[in-house]
């Protein structure tokens, strides 16, 4: 097994060297680019990839195909990209769940620094909300009540350690209170339970609750991002309220670090241009994706911050 892997690695390196030397000028026009997603088709990550895919012809000189490999909790996708030739034609598109959280909790076949972000397509803001007629119409009210009676207030937050759950854990550490964390199947269920009065507070992403906030049934309490969210400008950030909880999720395109740097630079430039284009922005509007592309450097910072935050939270949980 190891021998075969070694042989494969040698072969791959050899071909990539010759390929990189011979045809650099034409990159990336030789073959279609594959964006491999660890989620099923139709999900938010998949849609983000398809936005790039539909404007690729003009900016990348080649086609971009989104391939979803959701097997083994998304690990099939990551392994597929890891094992592909590092020629820049096969990249990973993901949020931090399968890539970072799983790697920190389980044995996986890669190291976190094997992956170099190319472009962050969008940032997703975790948001806390409650019913407008409930007692918790602000984060302060929630914290006060929870401190007075620990473990009585329930917060529905999607899957365990999902994008809205982690900021909740961080906030509880930061503000010293505790609630009942209720895992749900996702934002839709968390929303239904809050609307039905089964659960006191919900945590999700803005697109899930936009409708109910607009018609006044729900109030959004706070978002866990550095800046306010453009679709809900009245909702304060936790940072503004005095809590150092910045834990946004991102959908980012990654390349393996063995992909030559020149190629990564070309990809970054072209993909940035494609996502900044009017047609990509329009597609983003239509699909509820806030397309705000960030270059390699900024994406790397976001990636590292997330790894740092997650490591801290998970260490805390193990203790």
């Amino acid at each position: 097994m190891t021998l075969r892997k070694l042989a494969l690695a040698c072969a791959v390196t050899a071909t990539s060297l010759t390929a990189a030397g011979g045809a650099l000028a034409e990159f990336p026009s030789e073959s279609p680019i594959r964006l491999v997603s660890p989620y099923g088709a139709g999900g938010a990550v998949d849609i983000a990839g398809r936005i790039l895919s539909s404007v690729s012809g003009e900016f990348l000189d080649t086609r971009v195909d989104v391939i979803s490999l959701s097997g083994a909790g998304g690990q099939e996708a990551i392994e597929y990209v890891r094992d592909a030739e590092p020629d820049g034609y096969t990249m990973l598109i993901t949020d931090y769940g399968p890539l970072v959280t799983t790697a920190l909790r389980e044995d996986v076949g890669y190291e976190l620094d094997d992956w170099i972000p190319i472009v962050q397509i969008t940032e997703v803001a975790p948001i806390f909300f409650a019913r407008a007629d409930s007692a918790f119409t602000s984060i302060e009210a929630l914290i006060e009540a929870a401190q007075a009676a620990p473990d009585t207030i329930s917060v529905g937050h999607g899957r365990h350690l999902s994008v809205p759950h982690l900021p909740l854990i961080l906030l509880e550490q930061e503000a010293e209170f505790s609630t009942v964390h209720l895992p749900t199947t996702g934002g839709a269920q968390a929303l239904a339970f809050v609307l039905g009065g089964q659960v006191d507070v919900g945590a999700s992403v803005p697109s899930t609750i936009q409708g109910s906030v607009d018609d006044g049934t729900l109030v959004a309490l706070a978002v866990a991002t550095a800046e306010r969210v453009s679709s809900m400008p009245d909702v304060p950030t936790l940072l503004e309220l005095g809590f150092d909880v910045v834990m946004p999720a991102w959908y980012t395109i990654f390349a393996h670090r063995d992909v030559p740097e020149e190629r990564r630079a070309i990809l970054e430039e072209r993909i940035m241009a494609a996502l900044e284009s009017e047609s990509a922005q329009a597609l983003g509007q239509r699909t509820g994706t806030d397309v705000q592309p960030l270059g390699a450097e900024a994406s790397m910072t976001a990636y590292q911050t997330t790894i740092g935050n997650l490591t801290a939270i998970l260490d805390q949980l193990v203790d």
Binding site: G42, A72, Q75, S154, V180, A188, V199
Partner: protein, 510 residues
């Protein structure tokens, strides 16, 4: 509201959607008419291809297949005495006798009209009931959902006709299979035996296609090999009764009117049973048949070619087709294998069935309602025109059909996840299906258990978390208590009804 209707109308009546619905109906009647191929199997095979279609077109195709196969099953039931689908089993009793008595045309037309009436009525009830019920469902929390999941599994198991113990076992096995993968509360891996391939759980598509389609194909192939070994030549029964006079076998108004009462009984019964999570088309058909017989003016004719019997059975099984979506649309709980398949298709279109579905996807859901209604009309026309052709379709040799279905099943499953592991799971599920058939274990409860399992577990554990691990929390909600008592009363009622029927038939034998 009105703008949604306009948008839905435009979606539903787009030319390509209409074409897909027609193709679906033709396909559905075809697979329904061929014994051994069922609508569920066809939908399962088509499921992975939902990705490449626009949502409305995909729904048109699936609805077409479903409705077509519902009626298609009765063609082979009446023509050859072999039910093309499980739901048509009750149609055989009188349908085949009517054919032998020289009334195949009347029987087929009676079946067609009662099918379409039952189906359309049930669709209308779905449309008017699903939205109010979904509003009620918004009041449902983990405790109430757990109660719903419990009744749906209880009904599935208890209503597996005549084999309650096996039904319970199959449902439990389904729930267990669904637990493989990750713990919903902590995300930790469980029951994967250290195999990373299993860490994402067993896919719905490999399991469904494997259990329904692959196992059926394997069984049929085995049968063919066996037949060859024994050198038995299967002779087709004589096509027409000796004294068949087509001029006396024309569908007319008095005939239709005489069966109308039975059609209405079947429609009511089928809609009611279809709306119960867990009860399926064949139960509905048998219950309506029994009821129609007891209330008929000529109960003695039942079993001897009574057209009323055909009408009741067909209206009964077709009337489940709209109603079966009620629990899916209102609560997100699939009430039958077919509803589960549609649920999977909706999830693939990123529409999550449940209380918030109607509100969030108004246009596409109303488009689905339009499609459900107009597909009945297409079904009626297509079937009426093509009845003579389809009567012969049931004679297509399975050896031509099976390899194609097998190929499509494997290809479709691979395409659904781009993973060869899914194909291994598909084949494993197929072998499991064969083993279960061998021991006479019903497959429906297993599939429902598999689909309902995650929700059942999650709602139970959520309820316990909210109730601070106090199990009495589960019976503290009046809504949940109502659901439990309602189920108990229903089970009692079914038990009494079926028991009485058995007594009756024994008396008749004497």
């Amino acid at each position: 509201m009105l703008e949604f209707l306009g948008e839905a109308f435009a979606l539903a009546f787009a030319p390509e959607v209409i074409i897909f619905a027609c193709v679906g109906i033709l396909l559905g009647i075809t697979v329904g008419a061929i014994p051994g191929l069922s609508g569920d199997m066809a939908i399962a095979v088509l499921l992975p291809f939902v990705f490449v279609l626009e949502p409305a077109s995909a729904l048109g195709l699936l609805v077409g297949v479903y409705k077509g196969s519902m009626f298609g099953g009765s063609i082979s039931a009446i023509t050859f005495g072999v039910p093309g689908t499980a739901g048509a089993a009750a149609t055989v009793i009188d349908g085949y006798q009517a054919k032998l008595a020289g009334k195949p045309n009347k029987a087929l037309h009676t079946a067609l009209y009662s099918s379409c009436i039952g189906d359309t009525t049930s669709d209308l009830i779905l449309i008017f009931l699903a939205l109010p019920l979904a509003l009620v469902a918004l009041k449902f929390g983990p405790v109430e959902f757990f109660a719903l999941y419990v009744i749906s599994l209880t009904l599935v198991a208890a209503l597996t006709m005549g084999q309650v113990a096996r039904g319970v076992a199959a449902a439990a096995l389904g729930v267990m299979l669904a637990m493989i993968g990750r713990d919903p509360m902590t995300g930790a891996q469980r029951y994967t035996f250290g195999m990373p391939e299993l860490s994402g759980g067993i896919g719905l598509i490999p399991l469904l296609v494997g259990i329904f389609a692959i196992s059926e194909i394997l069984v049929q192939i085995a049968r063919m090999l066996q037949r060859r070994r024994f050198q038995q030549r299967v002779t087709t029964p004589a096509q027409d009764a000796p004294a068949y006079d087509p001029s006396k076998d024309k569908m007319d108004w008095p005939t239709f009117r005489s069966t109308f009462g039975a059609t209405m009984l079947g429609t009511g019964m089928g809609t009611f049973i279809g709306a119960l999570p867990g009860a399926g088309a064949s139960l509905a058909a048998f219950m309506s048949y029994g009821l129609a017989q007891r209330l008929s003016r000529k109960p003695k004719e039942f079993g001897k070619g009574s057209l009323e019997g055909v009408a009741a059975a067909e209206a009964g099984n077709s009337a489940t087709s709209g109603a079966t979506f009620i629990p899916l649309f209102a609560f997100g709980i699939p009430g039958s294998a077919t509803a589960a398949l549609f649920g999977a298709a909706l999830i693939m279109m990123s529409i999550t069935p449940g209380p918030t579905m109607m509100r969030d996807n108004m246009a596409i859901i109303y488009a689905l309602f339009f499609i459900l209604i107009y597909a009945n009309l297409f079904n009626l026309v297509a079937s009426k025109v093509l009845l003579p052709v389809y009567s012969r379709l049931a004679m297509i040799q399975p050896r031509y059909v099976l390899p194609i279905v097998l190929g499509l099943a494997i290809l479709g499953t691979f395409a659904s996840s781009n993973s060869i592991n899914a194909v291994w799971m598909l084949l494993a599920a197929g072998v499991l299906g064969v083993a279960l058939r061998w021991f006479g274990v019903p497959l429906g409860p297993l599939v429902l258990g598999f689909i309902v399992g995650p929700g059942l577990e999650e709602s139970l554990r959520q309820a316990l978390m909210l109730g601070r691990n106090d199990w009495t929390h589960l019976v503290k909600s009046p809504l949940a208590l109502g659901i439990y008592f309602g189920t108990f009363a229903l089970l009692l009622l079914f038990w009494l009804l079926t028991r009485k029927r058995n007594v009756l038939t024994k008396e008749e034998v004497k």
